[in-house]
């Protein structure tokens, strides 16, 4: 099984640059998810790995082999498409075996592999059907089956779940993870859904405007985003961003969000942010790190009060929307502890999970 190496990969269409120099090293059997908003270049990158899109600049290696000019059929990869791309005139069995038949694999071997894949995917009874007679989820399985029988160096997934309804999507997500655990192979998976990225990936690659914003494990992306874009993209509901100013608070520093709210920074943070004293910054904090007032569990937790604007009960939690200097800020509170809209409510904020962003560079400092 392969490692895939992208070196300074670029793609230009006429005047527009879709991919602007990407470097990425994908390990053996690693599950890498490329995630980003539409037009960020993730699908183009995948299609260049597949060989369906010509490479404008840079190099792609699969294993030791430079494959820039190798046609897709000789790259030893399999791909699962967004619309499944099953051949409508072939049965499920024929769809799955098509690649093997073209490669003149022996009949018995084809049968064995198709049966094996059908067992993994639980589609043994569907082999004689045509794609039209299958549900969305079943087609998805067949599309994966077609990839599995090929036993390729790498699997490429292009938004495979986006045509399924919400419930099935969650189901198939788990399914894909299970399959990857059974069929150990390198996977490059493209999605615009950060939840899919978080749940599936060994490593997430967040892309935006044709470049990589950050690469890391799901936990790293969540806890230590390096840019404002990643901070806002990963995590749901999205992180709050509040313009702020770093001010002197005795010996230490504080973050002034508004005339009423100034939050003290710890000694360690004060040291780190000293250079930004009196500068306009952006304060980032996830909704789950602002709760109703609670017993403090560490010394970096602070309390503050604010007027509640809107409540959105989610069942397990209630999202509390407030207004700080014209910016909407969301908190995540226990349903029983929230105040009514219009009333002032006390919150506890965990300063250990805050991020300070320099608005000039949009980098987390």
């Amino acid at each position: 099984m392969a490692q895939i190496l992208l070196k300074n990969l670029r793609k230009t269409y006429d005047e527009t640059e879709a991919v602007r120099g990407i470097n990425l090293d994908i390990d053996h059997n690693e599950f890498v998810v490329l995630v980003g908003p539409s037009g960020c270049g993730k699908t183009t990158t995948l299609r260049m790995i597949a060989g369906l899109e010509e490479i404008t600049g840079g190099e792609i290696f699969i294993g030791e082999r430079l494959i820039n000019n190798v046609p897709p059929r000789d790259r030893d990869i399999a791909m699962v498409f967004q619309n499944y791309a099953l051949y409508p005139h072939m049965t499920v069995e024929q769809n799955m075996s098509f690649g093997l038949r073209l490669r003149k694999v022996a009949k018995a071997e084809i049968e064995r592999r198709v049966k094996h894949a059908a067992d993994i995917l639980n589609i043994g009874e569907l082999l004689e059907r045509r794609p039209k007679q299958l549900s969305g989820g079943q087609r998805q399985r067949v599309a994966m089956g077609r990839a599995i029988v090929r036993n390729p160096e790498a699997f490429l997934f292009d938004e495979p779940l986006s045509n399924l309804d919400a419930k099935l999507r969650v189901q198939m997500r788990t399914e894909i993870k299970k399959i990857h655990q059974r069929v150990q192979t390198t996977v490059v998976y493209v999605t615009h859904d950060q939840v899919e990225a978080m749940t599936l990936a060994d490593r997430i690659v967040v892309m935006n405007h044709g470049i990589i914003e950050q690469v890391g494990s799901p936990q790293e992306m969540y806890e230590a985003p390096k840019t404002r874009f990643v901070a806002g993209f990963i995590g749901s509901p999205a992180m709050n961003f509040v313009p702020c100013r770093i001010v002197e608070r005795g010996a230490a520093l504080g973050v002034r969000l508004s005339g009423d709210i100034t939050l003290d920074l710890s000694a360690e943070q004060s040291k780190r942010y000293r250079g930004y004293l009196d500068k306009e910054m952006v304060f980032g904090i996830r909704p789950e790190h602002i709760t109703e007032r609670r017993q403090h569990t560490n010394e970096n937790q602070l309390d503050f009060g604010c007027t509640v604007e809107v409540l959105e009960p989610m069942g397990i939690d209630t999202m509390v929307f407030m207004d700080i200097e014209g910016v909407e800020v969301t908190a995540r509170a226990a349903p029983k502890a929230v105040s009514n809209p219009g009333e002032t409510m006390m919150f506890t904020i965990d300063m250990n999970n805050t991020h300070l962003i320099d608005p000039k560079t949009d980098k987390v400092v």
Binding site: A85, Y87, L102
Partner: protein, 323 residues
């Protein structure tokens, strides 16, 4: 005093409105104009044709019923058998060329290139020009003495000779060029050529429409599955375009089988009946010789064959619709 309350008698207009509100009545009313047109312009001539083919009607006489006499005579006639064979040959060869070239043209037109839309529209030209006019132009181009074909051939001939330095430039008469419409085998080839030229756009555009319904993803998938260009065509394009292709081909068979204008203008069936088709023979017998009964019999001979073809087409369409 006794007052009797009677509802006022509904006016004609009111009764009409009530009747039209009944969907069944309205349906028949709306269908009536089309039905009338079909009866006058299709059913009546058809029935009349069948009747005439069973009589010995000659222009000016009313004709008497002679049963299948006309058909008997036809099967004994060499010209009829030649025309029947010619029609089958003409239709088969022309349809094969139109289908193969049409597919090739469609695949080319389906690529992305500059001025693609203008090119696609231009391809339709032979189909748009009235057949009679374009065929007259072909007649002129096929002319043995003054035509562009033979002029070009002569020019090439002279060039070649000029290279070897054997013949003087002004030796025009040396190479005459073929008699395109006078030579028996060339005449049939020429007629087929014009039919293919005229029918090709219909095939190409219909196939192109079919090609454009094939999702591009399938070709990506086939690329990755390991299919080369030719295999993609064979395993993906052809099976997916088959429903369109069958309908187009069957339709073309019907139209080609009954073709009249081309032959009538180019050769009138000659030389020596080598290009006579059933349609031109029917015209010649019925209109030219005034032997209307016989002409009708020739024309009707096409009916069972074309009926079979059309029934096949309808059957196929139904089956595809179910699948």
């Amino acid at each position: 005093m006794q007052t009797q309350q009677t509802a006022p008698e509904p006016s004609l207009r009111e009764r009409l409105v009530t009747a039209l509100e009944n969907q069944r009545v309205l349906g028949y009313v709306l269908m009536a104009p089309a039905l009338l047109l079909i009866l006058i312009f299709i059913a009546y001539p058809f029935v009349l044709g069948v009747w005439m083919s069973l009589t010995d009607k000659i222009v000016g006489t009313s004709g008497t019923f002679i049963g299948l006499g006309n058909y008997d005579k036809l099967f004994a006639s060499d010209i009829f058998l030649t025309a029947a064979w010619n029609t089958v040959f003409f239709t088969t060869i022309a349809t094969i060329f139109k289908a193969v070239l049409g597919m090739w043209l469609a695949v080319l037109l389906n690529r992305k290139f500059r001025f693609a839309n203008i090119t696609r529209a231009t391809v339709l030209l032979p189909f748009i020009v009235p057949t009679v006019l374009s065929t007259l132009a072909w007649l002129w181009m096929f002319d043995a003495t003054f035509s562009v074909f033979n002029w070009t051939l002569r020019w090439l001939w002279q060039m070649e000779i000029g290279i070897f330095g054997l013949v003087l430039k002004e030796n025009w008469g040396f190479f005459r060029g073929p008699l395109w419409l006078g030579d028996p085998s060339l005449a049939m080839a020429s007629v087929i050529l014009v039919n293919v030229w005229r029918g090709l756009p219909f095939f190409a555009i219909s196939f192109l429409a079919g090609l454009q319904t094939i999702p591009p993803d399938l070709y990506d998938a086939a690329d990755i599955d390991g299919a080369s260009g030719w295999k993609k065509f064979w395993h993906v394009t052809l099976p997916l375009i088959k429903p369109v292709a069958i309908v187009v081909i069957v339709f073309s068979i019907v139209v080609t089988f009954a073709d009249f204008q081309l032959v009538y203008i180019l050769t009138r069936g000659g030389p020596n009946n080598e290009t006579h088709l059933l349609a031109t023979l029917a015209y010649q017998l019925g209109m030219g010789s005034g032997n209307i009964g016989q002409g009708a019999a020739v024309a009707l001979f096409m009916l069972p064959i074309l009926a079979f073809v059309i029934i096949f087409q309808l059957w196929y369409l139904r089956r595809e619709g179910v699948r």
